[in-house]
């Protein structure tokens, strides 16, 4: 067995029990007593700020009250009515930037009601106990194709199926779930939750999933629009931005999303190679997820290098603190300029930056960090636009996900607007489904 000090990229830096502990639930589920105490703190605010802050508009005060009166199943129903992936969102939502930031008790005491964990308590209770809680309307005879089995596609498909439409979901990967399954840190989705949630969601009926089908390869927009009454694209962002540095192709330099994907699909974490000195380039959630998990796998030194200041980092303060608490070093105002090494990466050269108001510029001063592994997490890009109009680098949409092509909707990370969160993707998928339903049934007078 190797250790954190083992040079280069190595597997099994930590013992199996240490790995198991490191990758256990980041937040353990509430015990019943904890849930009762946490729920009691909710004031049942009028026109509650937490609801306003939730992209899916979950009636948070109502579901918390339902928990406190001993009806967690009813609470879960309140959540799922708005967000069928409420179980995953309870685990991965940056609540500290959304509902919990808006909580009046955050204002009053700096301690918000623990909405995310309460949501998990409710959704776990129902999912453990009951069959799928919704009934499907009678068949409408309409067929809808959903491309992408991530949060947006799943939410869209569920809502469409509930209204009686026949849905076929196509996904390029070998299994459904999108970023819930292949992205997101493992300690936020333990016990194969993403896959279990998909199975549970499919309980509505009327949804068929076809994997290994990629738009642009096995699928074309022409055939989809020809065979289906409507098409929803929730293809996400399949590409990764390049550093455009010298040495980017050296061994040991890879995309953070690939590393996270391998980690999520690994049956034995000890088989996963990780460097002794890991440097992650980027400032978002993917950067934090890759850095923290590198550390948890046993890397000796992990650094996140971000070209701007802390204020500009898109990972929340909570995520930054999480990284720091796990021993990740956060380095700000440093941009990569070169990757050194003979075949494999050995060092990364970073240049300090400053922003004097007219944009970010390098100061000319550089620093080298030891690195046997470099993860790129500087943003993802759209790889398939289906020939639709773009806005910026995403599929242009208006209203509830309508694209430039009649009969084609889009939502989630691939669509313009939004903030690339799971919960936003769910909201967009759901709303597009309602618009598709209205359109197909002639309800959109």
């Amino acid at each position: 067995m190797s250790s954190p000090m083992t040079p280069g990229i190595a597997t099994a830096r930590l013992a199996a029990d240490a790995l198991a502990e490191n990758f256990d639930d980041l937040h353990a589920p509430f015990a019943p007593h904890e849930a009762a105490v946490a729920a009691d703190r909710c004031y049942f605010c009028h026109d509650a700020p937490c609801v306003t802050a939730c992209p899916t508009d979950i009636d948070i005060p109502l579901f918390i009250r339902q928990i406190s009166t001993g009806t967690s199943e009813a609470a879960a129903k309140t959540i799922f009515d708005q967000n069928i992936l409420g179980g995953m969102c309870a685990r991965v939502c940056p609540t500290e930037d959304l509902c919990e930031q808006a909580c009046v008790r955050e204002l009053a005491e700096g301690k918000p009601v623990e909405i995310g964990r309460l949501q998990r308590h409710a959704t776990d209770t129902l999912m453990a106990k009951q069959r799928h809680p919704y009934d499907r309307a009678s068949e409408t005879g309409k067929k809808v194709a959903v491309v992408g089995a991530g949060p947006a596609g799943l939410a869209c498909a569920h809502r469409l199926a509930m209204h009686g439409h026949a849905v076929t979901i196509y996904d390029a990967e070998s299994k459904a779930g999108g970023l819930n399954e292949f992205g997101i840190a493992a300690y936020k989705s333990t016990d194969d939750f993403a896959a279990r949630e998909v199975d549970w969601l499919l309980g509505i009926g009327g949804i068929e999933i076809k994997t290994g089908m990629r738009l642009g390869d096995e699928l074309t927009m022409e055939s989809l629009t020809h065979c289906f009454d409507a098409v929803f694209l929730g293809v996400g962002l399949g590409g990764v931005n390049a550093l455009r540095n010298d040495g980017e192709n050296k061994e040991g330099v890879r995309d953070a999303v690939d590393f996270i994907k391998d980690l999520r699909q690994a049956s034995d974490l000890a088989t996963l190679p990780v460097g002794r000195d890991v440097v992650v380039i980027g400032g978002g959630m993917t950067a934090v997820d890759a850095a923290v998990q590198s550390k948890l796998l046993g890397a000796q030194n992990v650094t996140i290098a971000y070209r701007r200041g802390r204020d500009a980092m898109s990972a929340s303060t909570y995520e930054q603190d999480l990284a720091a608490s796990k021993g990740v070093r956060l380095m700000f105002n440093a941009q990569p300029v070169a990757i050194h090494g003979n075949g494999a990466v050995r060092e990364i050269e970073l240049e300090y930056t400053s922003d004097n108001g007219s944009g970010l510029t390098g100061t000319g001063e550089t620093v080298r960090l030891a690195a046997d592994q470099v993860f790129k997490a500087i943003g993802q890009t759209l790889t398939t636009d289906g020939g639709l109009d773009l806005e910026g680098r995403k599929i242009a949409i208006t209203g509830a996900g309508r694209t430039s092509r009649k009969g084609v909707w889009a939502g989630g990370d691939c669509a313009s607007g939004g903030d690339d969160l799971t919960v936003t993707a769910v909201a967009e998928g759901r709303d597009a489904a309602m618009d598709i339903h209205a359109t197909l049934m002639g309800l959109d007078g």
């Binding site: 049942f44 009028h46 109502l62 009250r65 009166t69 001993g70 009813a74 129903k77």
Partner: protein
């Protein structure tokens, strides 16, 4: 989803949750919002006779009692009946009822104890199309000094007389609202029944002073340095109200008389408890005043979930289910023996059970050096105080002993047979068991 539709005295409503006659039902604006929020019915705030409207104080009308975290447990008020013109109220009632035909609309009335006063107002109320009336014989402040409200409700003969007038001059259901400020609530309930009441509703508010300002030495709510007793309501009054409801439900004289339950109903569970004690529906006020009309959503979803879990398909099936189990102390089974049990996995080692038992009860809990708390079965009388003071739900439970076991406290074998005080050897008046 269980069917929450209720039929109370022939008055249908989509759920058993009505808003009680009180500030939330004082005008069209509120009642429309309440119906939009999903309430099954309302009892419009009490109307008085034609003439100059009543006058309210211009300072604080409410006082409160709080639990931990400033949770409102009890509210008292010194507001009077509606202070808006009679005609305005009647017009609004008619308009709202016409727009919401599926909701129950009851009009609360309080006029002087004279036949003519009732004869005058009843046809005008009938003309609104409301589904029934509720006689406010309960308001304990302001109006009672004028011979109305609780002043009538405390004299069974008056109740019977006024109820009879109402049945004579009004042809829809008459509900008599009872005051709890009386020794034996069965008496006014029976009087209402004799007068022909279709139902009783209870409780109205309880005479109360919620607090005293120790700087000004004035009771709260304070009006220019003085306070008056007000009507107490909210979660704190629920046990008192439920006892009164059960007394009427199990009294042979009034058994079967429909009851509308009122008093601190805040959650679905409160409502289910009232209904199990014989209520055909419930009326809510403080919960709405504390949390807004939206609170009804939890009541509906919770009652529905519970009914589904229990296999009840209608509210009707739940009504009165607990009434046969309300009995007098002398009929409780003295051969039933239980012992407290502390679940060590759930125990957070606060020691409240120990303090309660050691200082004020039976010295039946042992405390070890490492703060492990265990029940001493030789001393435990199963009083339940430890359960009641424990901050963790279900951490301490009462476990019934199995017949045949020896109770370590008494050294006696636990008997299987039921035996109560009426046959107990220590009872000088004991009758031989047959």
């Amino acid at each position: 989803m269980a069917d929450l539709t209720t039929d109370f005295l022939g008055i249908k409503s989509p759920n058993p949750f009505w808003l009680a006659s009180a500030p939330p039902t004082d005008k069209e604006y509120n009642v429309r919002r309440a119906f939009e929020a999903g309430w099954g019915g309302v009892v419009w705030k009490t109307l008085g006779s034609e003439g100059p409207p009543v006058v309210n104080v211009n300072g604080p009308r409410y006082g409160a009692i709080y639990g931990a975290d400033r949770r409102l447990l009890g509210l008292n008020n010194i507001e009077l009946i509606t202070d808006r013109p009679l005609e305005t109220n009647l017009e609004e009632i008619a308009r709202v009822k016409a727009d919401y035909p599926d909701r129950a609309m009851i009009v609360s009335i309080m006029v002087p104890c004279e036949e003519q006063a009732w004869k005058d107002i009843l046809p005008r109320v009938a003309a609104t199309g409301a589904d029934g009336i509720e006689l406010n014989f309960g308001c304990p402040h302001g109006m009672s000094e004028r011979g109305m409200g609780a002043a009538v409700g405390q004299v069974p003969e008056y109740i019977e007389m006024v109820t009879r007038w109402c049945k004579q001059y009004y042809d829809k259901p008459v509900i008599v609202k009872l005051t709890p400020n009386i020794t034996d609530v069965r008496k006014p309930a029976a009087a209402a029944m004799r007068g022909g009441a279709d139902a009783v509703s209870l409780i109205n508010t309880i005479n109360s002073i919620t607090s005293v300002n120790l700087d000004t030495m004035s009771p709260e709510p304070s009006i220019d340095g003085k306070g008056s007793h007000g009507g107490y309501c909210g979660p704190a009054v629920k046990p008192i109200a439920m006892s009164m409801v059960s007394e009427i439900a199990r009294n042979p004289e009034t058994h079967g008389l429909p009851i509308s339950g009122i008093g601190g109903i805040t959650t679905w569970r409160d409502a289910a408890e009232y209904i199990s004690l014989g209520c055909g529906n419930v009326q809510v006020c403080t919960a709405a005043m504390t949390y807004g009309f939206k609170i009804v959503e939890e009541m509906k979803s919770g009652l529905s979930q519970w009914m589904d879990e229990k296999g009840y398909t209608s509210v009707e099936e739940v009504i009165g289910r607990a009434v046969p189990n309300v009995t007098d102390w002398q009929y409780l089974n003295l051969n039933y023996v239980a012992k407290a049990k502390i679940n060590q996995d759930d125990c957070i080692k606060c020691g409240r059970c120990y303090a309660a038992c050691e200082d004020t009860s039976h010295q039946a809990i042992a405390m070890s050096d490492d703060r492990t708390f265990t029940v001493i079965d030789e001393e435990c009388v199963a009083c339940n105080l430890c359960v009641d003071v424990c901050p963790v739900e279900n951490c301490i439970t009462m476990e019934a002993m199995t017949p045949g076991e020896v109770d370590p406290r008494t050294g006696k074998v636990v008997e299987e047979e039921y035996a109560n005080w009426t046959t107990h050897p220590n009872n000088p008046g004991a009758v031989a068991a047959e």
